[in-house]
Symmetry: C2
Subunit: 265 residues, 2 copies
Amino acid sequence: MDNRPIGIFDSGVGGLTVANAINKLLPNETICYVGDTARVPYGNKSKMSILKFSKQITNWLIKQNCKVIIIACNTASSLALDTLKLKVSVPILGVIDPGVKWAVSITKKNRIGVLGTRATINSNVYHKKIKEENEKIHVFEKACPLFVPLVEEGFIDGEIPSLISNYYLKELKMAHIDTLILGCTHYPLLKQTISDSLYPSIKLVDSSLATSKELKSLLEKETLISNNEKGKINCYVTDYTETFENVVNRFFKYNINSIKRLDVF
Amino acid sequence: MDNRPIGIFDSGVGGLTVANAINKLLPNETICYVGDTARVPYGNKSKMSILKFSKQITNWLIKQNCKVIIIACNTASSLALDTLKLKVSVPILGVIDPGVKWAVSITKKNRIGVLGTRATINSNVYHKKIKEENEKIHVFEKACPLFVPLVEEGFIDGEIPSLISNYYLKELKMAHIDTLILGCTHYPLLKQTISDSLYPSIKLVDSSLATSKELKSLLEKETLISNNEKGKINCYVTDYTETFENVVNRFFKYNINSIKRLDVF
């Protein structure tokens, strides 16, 4: 048994989809969530900056005595996970591997699509990892940089997201994929719109569910499961804004413990 | 005569519209431009963060021996100018006052619209300053948070910007304004789209031109004009990205001197 918190971080609100999935699957765990809202978004920034931000936040989470770290951001998972693994003494998980494994296990036509930020797609990580799992799979990737601001602004359905989604997905529609990885933690909020731009039979892979399952296996294997009666959720943000508070409250209506401002830089 | 540089800063590429206008009007001046690309955008962040970022960059510009500082960002001008004025020993100009004075001088119906980021509109600065100039003027404001990501992603015309622009401007269209302040340095790049969403007779106020004229008057009055044969433009960014380099080269094809990475935090 281990009652230390699980550290989760993201550039902003997107990683709350992962925190939410973990909270549902592991309700006894205490979560320490950091949203880097002062520097959001990460998706259009350089590897150097994303690595620097990820290191600053991971160091802070380690100081909070976290027993495991989840990088709940595809961009930071793509560009910082390998470096951070070498630097921290606790287990650290990203959201890429769980999504890749799930997608590879369900595709029947061996044709997988991947949507992500520009930094994630340019990193080529999804392509590489899918090919490592099964080199026969054809991978079709597309950067969708306007999806994050759409979600952050609350445009999750209606004419504007539809038009932008149709614009980004027009080539993927011709690629005859049967599985699509939503390679950014914001994108599950646009699930219906994305599905409508393609075809109803397509299987969408939301990495937050896959990541929470992988975390559960890890905690069980390493005997790190908590026996708290009920987990708490403590949120920290580098910039305190009303938008973040609203989204947090929407996700964790009943068991949110606190939202505090954090100065890491 | 004073050959020290003019310091200009913005959250990212938007302020280049101001730097460009200054370079055209005052070609002998050396410009030291900072784009805070690691933390862009500012428009949805809190006053506390915007003030902190603006202070860090202003302190750095003062150390570069700038003779005057231009805050080429409406959000930072709205939230940080008054505080910074008390802290720095050189003249410091924002982009709000020049735009307000110009708009007030050209409106005939005394009905002015203002577009800006959420932080700018919530600050109420435009409303207050226009009323200070002429309390009879009716002011109609609208936050357009998706305009900055659209411009940063290069969507400046076509169906997507049109739909978003029509969505944001539908109430302003009913307000019978004759003058509209583009209260964000990114928005002049959407000039045609914005104009098409309203009516052709509307007068659009681009603060970059007004600011460059106000700077010229100030330099002449304080005898701070440079007698360099030709001005240089030195750019500094907190995150080095290809997008920034492309935009800089588009604006300053012939006289860009350097683009360097700057670590202020």
